[in-house]
Symmetry: C2
Subunit: 144 residues, 2 copies
């Protein structure tokens, strides 16, 4: 087990990265959507159910439902009743939802580039490796 100083380094990271993510997620994308709404949109893959989204993002079912309702009204996603389970809905992005997602993704890429642009190339590589390491260890990669 890590010692006290090592744990403290991780906690220090958490505190600072809370700030960083807070800032990144504030300058929300195209201002078309709020951050939680964008998060939901980004997490929808073809056939996702509202429950799956709520579980994945750790959102309340009710809150998730409202966000999905709004995204549907804005015509970014559509809801079809599941064939297998009439209680459940199958979500998917509309064409304009796909467009928006593309926009969000490219804007997010730019944010990341801004974050690292002042670093030297070796530092950027080292930073990238570190993120990849954490992804691998903590999130066992792949499973987006």
């Amino acid at each position: 087990m890590l010692n006290k100083q090592e744990i403290e380094i991780i906690r220090q990271f958490n505190r600072k990265y809370t700030n960083t993510l807070g800032l990144l997620n504030k300058r929300v994308f195209n201002t078309e959507l709020s951050f939680p709404e964008a998060r939901v949109l980004m997490s929808i893959t073809n056939g996702s159910t509202p429950m799956e989204i709520a579980d994945k993002l750790h959102l309340d079912a009710s809150y998730t439902s409202r966000i999905i309702k709004k995204l549907t009204k804005l015509n970014f996603i559509k809801k079809d009743v599941s064939v297998k389970d009439a209680r459940s809905k199958k979500l998917s992005l509309t064409d304009s939802g796909i467009d928006l997602l593309d926009k969000i993704n490219s804007d997010s890429d730019i944010q990341i580039k801004n974050l690292i642009e002042d670093l030297s190339s070796p530092q950027q590589q080292e930073l990238y490796q570190a993120f990849e390491t954490i992804n691998n260890i903590l999130f066992e990669i792949d499973g987006e």
Copy 2:
């Protein structure tokens, strides 16, 4: 500059770590304080001014003021008028604020330990190194 796949790894980290931090910060400590209140408490060092806290945590001045008011009422911090600038307040923790901070710190340590306890010892070390690397590169260490 990093390429598209590398940027995507960082974005993937951000998405997943948003979840992680969301969970860590939800099971808030002793439930005595909310997460933003705990954040403010943790950021107070002897002589901090409300403005400094607001800047550091990227909080609205008004919101910060209210949190400080509550922490003062709960007797975790105290406010003294600055000698140099009568508009400004100098904040410091009371004894019971120090106690609470200790409790929060030890609880936070436990959370981190839980997060990594299932990993092998080499993995924990690798993970720690990665966090340290990011701290160094992105936050230029030290400056808590």
